[in-house]
Structures are given as C-alpha cells and as structure tokens.
C-alpha cells in the first residue's frame, strides 16, 4: 500500500480535471505506520508541515518518507551518480530544517520545498565548478557512467523520454509529472511567472508530440523512446 501524498495533474486536462492523488515510492517501509496514521486521518502536506514547525517528529518522518523519494528522483535526473543525489537529498533536508520557519501554513508546501531543492542543486553545481579538478572528475564520471549497465545509468523512463528537451523544459515537466505540481506551483518553485511556465510546457509538449509522431504511434504510446 502506498502513501498518498500529492496531487498529479495532466497538462492537457489541468484546467478540467479534479486533483488526483499520486502514490509515493512503494518500496519505502520505514515508519509507514506513523505516516499512514497521519495521512489517513485526513492530514495533507500543509498540516504535516505545520506539525513539523510545532516540533512533531511523526510529521517529520512522514514528510521525509513522502517527499524524499520525489526529491531524490529530482536530483538523480541531473546528477551523474546516486551518491551525489543522496548527498543533495540530505543537504536539502538539512536546509529545509534550518529555514522551516519561513514556511507559511496557508501556502502550498511543494513549491517551498522545490525552491530550496533547486537552490541546493545550484549551489552544488557552483561548488563543483569552482574546483580545479572539475574537468578531470567529469571525465571520470562520464567514464563510470558509460561502464554502468543501461538500466543503472538511466533507470528512469521519464528521463529517457525527456532527454531531447532543454534543461528548463525538463525541470518543469519533472515537477508537474513527478511531484504533481500545478502550473502555479511550478512557477513559484522556479521563481518565474505562470505565463513563462506555460510557455515552457507548451514548447516541451510540442517537441514531444513531434518526436512521437515522427517515431510512429506504436512506439510513442508505449513511452519507450530511445
């Protein structure tokens, strides 16, 4: 049984369909009982965050369990290694913990968390780019990635599908499809306007549509683009 933790909206039907709920990572088992108790009692992420601010450990556990896998996937999509993604996830939660008072109970949680996660990722990139051995390490990483089995290097079907898009378009689609954020929430998380996000999504969809059409309907509908 999965934990229900966030809305997933489709771009095409975002303005017509009611919110659906997405399942968190099925394989997470730790403190499931505590998390389920919180979720089943009708709590949502906002309530959990408010309880976290009040010092409730069960709420912290549920939040980490619920959002952690999404964030990990967010980092995995852009880092060369799992250990980098693990480090970034830990750093993000430490930063969330440090600035948890900046969350307002009435505001949506996901844009707040993803804005911090983006900052952590950017800081990490900047730190990495400042090291003199960057080129050397990149070579090593790309060699290491090349030697990994294909499933390990790119286990994520979504990333394979999004590979031809620009980084900003991928980021927006990831937030909408993986985290289930709305256009408004993505705009908040990326510090941009809703119009700008709409434009990126529109272009990304057009690109994907053209690509799928070019490949034929069978391949496109299976979701298995090369």
């Amino acid at each position: 049984m999965g934990i229900r933790c966030g809305p997933v909206k489709s771009y095409g039907a975002a303005h017509r369909q009611p919110k659906k709920l997405a399942n968190c990572n099925e394989n997470v088992t730790f403190s499931r009982h505590a998390a389920n108790t919180l979720m089943d009692s009708g709590s949502n992420l906002n309530t959990l965050m408010a309880r976290y601010q009040a010092g409730d450990f069960a709420a912290v556990t549920a939040l980490v369990e619920c959002i952690g896998p999404q964030l990990h996937r967010f980092f995995m999509a852009q880092s060369a290694s799992r250990s980098d993604a693990d480090d970034l996830l830990q750093e993000t939660w430490l930063r969330i913990h440090r600035v948890r008072h900046t969350y307002r109970p009435a505001e949506p949680v996901l844009p707040w968390i993803y804005a911090i996660a983006r900052r952590v990722r950017i800081d990490h990139y900047r730190r990495a780019s400042r090291t003199t051995a960057r080129e050397h390490r990149l070579e090593e990483e790309s060699d290491a990635a090349a030697t990994l089995p294909r499933e390990e290097a790119r286990t994520d079907d979504l990333e394979t599908l999004l590979a031809p898009l620009s980084e900003s378009q991928r980021e927006v689609i990831r937030m909408m499809k993986v985290a289930g954020m709305s256009l408004e929430e993505v705009a908040r998380a990326t510090s941009s306007s809703v119009g700008s996000v709409k434009q990126k999504v529109h272009r990304a969809y057009r690109h994907l549509r053209d690509r799928m059409n070019a490949m034929g309907p069978k391949k496109g509908s299976s979701g298995g683009l090369p």
């Binding site: 489709s10 771009y11 095409g12 039907a13 990572n25 394989n27 997470v28 088992t29 730790f30 403190s31 601010q53 010092g55 450990f57 912290v60 952690g68 896998p69 990990h72 996937r73 693990d86 996830l89 830990q90 939660w93 430490l94 913990h97 600035v99 948890r100 008072h101 900046t102 969350y103 307002r104 109970p105 949506p108 707040w112 968390i113 804005a115 911090i116 983006r118 900052r119 800081d123 730190r127 400042r130 994520d156 079907d157 979504l158 599908l161 499809k177 993986v178 408004e184 908040r188 510090s191 306007s193 969809y205 994907l208 549509r209 799928m212 059409n213 309907p217 496109g220 509908s221 979701g223």
Partner: protein, 233 residues
C-alpha cells in the same frame, strides 16, 4: 498525436522511478529529530511589507528632519501628492517583492529587473511632469552631493530592513540584493525629495533618480559576494 496522448505517455513513464534507500530516509529523519524544536513561522507578507515601508519612511523623515524640509516646503500640494504617492507605491511594491525574495516558493508577479525598469521610468515620468526648470547650474557638484546623500541614507535603511527580515532565506541572493538595494534607494530618494530645494529638472531627473539603480546595483553586488561565500563553504 494530441496533448492528452502525450500526457498519458508521460504519466506512464513517470510511474517508473529509481528507488531510494529507506535507510537514507531514516537517517535524514533521525538527524532532523536530534535538533527538532518548535519554531515560530514568519508573520504574513503584508505585516513584513508594512514594516519595511515604515523603516524606509522613518529613515527618510529622520534624515530630512535633521537636514531640513526645504524641498517639500517649496512644492505645491498636487506636486507633493504626486511625488510622494508614487514613492509610496514603489516602496510598497519593492517591500513586497523583497519579502517574496526571502521566502522560498513565493508568488512572483513581475521580475526584479522589470520592477527596477518600471520603477525608474515611473520616477522619471513624475519628475519630468513636476519639474520644469531646465537650467543646469552646478550640475555635477550639486548632483554628486545629492547622489552621495541618497546612497549614504540607503545604508541604514538597508541595514534596518535586513534586521527585520534576517530570519528569511534568500533562494536567489543576487535578486534579493537587487530588490533590497532598490528599496533602500527609494528611501534615499524620499529623503532627497523632502530635503533638496534644487528644482532644476535635469538635476532631479539624473541625480535623484540615479540613487535607485545605483543602490540596487550595490545590493546585487552584496548578494553576489554572499552567494560566492556560501558556495565556498
């Protein structure tokens, strides 16, 4: 292929996720638990924005009271209303944007660059409408004195604003510095309009207005330095 079909493909693909170690999540939760204690959330945006506006007004009025209200005394009623209502609106907008910059995931109505451009253009428009004396006596010397006065006044305004918002967290420190600098600069311009009795159009248009972009640039530089320092650590 339609958008709905692309949706379906993306939805299907997003279902297959790489797994995360449960031990890692447990370690994170445990590390948070070790320092978990209740915190007080930040006050609403309107309260913080009001506080910032109050700081800017207080700094400008206090400085003008010390230097003399020669400027406002020589303005007609409609000129006072036009100039200070414009400054008030810009201070409120800058304050609101500054608060947004210091709270992750806040709603953005306009970019910081757009605000700076529109704000400077609004000030230029109002000054061009009010001041019609086109002489340029002591243009450089009087102008630099006003610019420096405005910038010097922006320093305490920026410091007090930072004190008020020190519990915030800037996601983009350069943008936060830019808008914070612009806000402090507006405090400097308000003081100049209260104090400066030099009503030559070019003097006001160039040197008074320049306080805002120069102060904003200085704020952005501070933000950039802070970002560099945090990237090193």
């Amino acid at each position: 292929m339609r958008d709905e079909e692309v949706d379906k493909v993306l939805q299907k693909a997003s279902g297959v996720a790489p797994q995360v170690e449960p031990a890692l999540l447990k370690r994170i939760a445990d590390s948070i638990n070790s320092s978990l204690r209740p915190v007080r959330p930040l006050p609403p945006t309107s309260v913080l924005t009001g506080g910032l506006a109050l700081i800017c007004a207080a700094v400008a009025v206090a400085a003008a009271a010390r230097a003399g209200f020669y400027g406002i005394e020589n303005l007609s009623l409609w000129e006072r209303v036009l100039i200070f209502s414009t400054l008030g609106i810009l201070v409120w907008m800058a304050g609101k944007e500054f608060v947004s910059q210091l709270i992750p995931g806040s709603r953005r109505h306009f970019s910081v660059g757009a605000f700076l451009t529109i704000g400077s253009a609004a000030l230029l428009g109002v000054f061009a409408l009010v001041f019609r004396d086109y002489r340029t006596d002591h243009f450089i010397s009087a102008g630099i004195a006003c610019l420096l006065t405005g910038l010097l006044l922006a320093i305490p305004a920026a410091f007090l604003s930072w004190l008020l918002l020190r519990r915030g967290f800037a996601v983009n420190s350069v943008a936060a510095g830019l808008v914070g600098g612009a806000l402090a600069g507006l405090s400097g311009v308000t003081m100049l309009e209260l104090h400066c009795a030099n009503f030559q159009a070019l003097h006001v248009l160039v040197w008074h207005t320049a306080v805002v972009p120069v102060s904003a640039t200085a704020g952005a530089l501070v933000g950039w330095v802070l970002r560099g320092l945090s990237a090193h650590t």
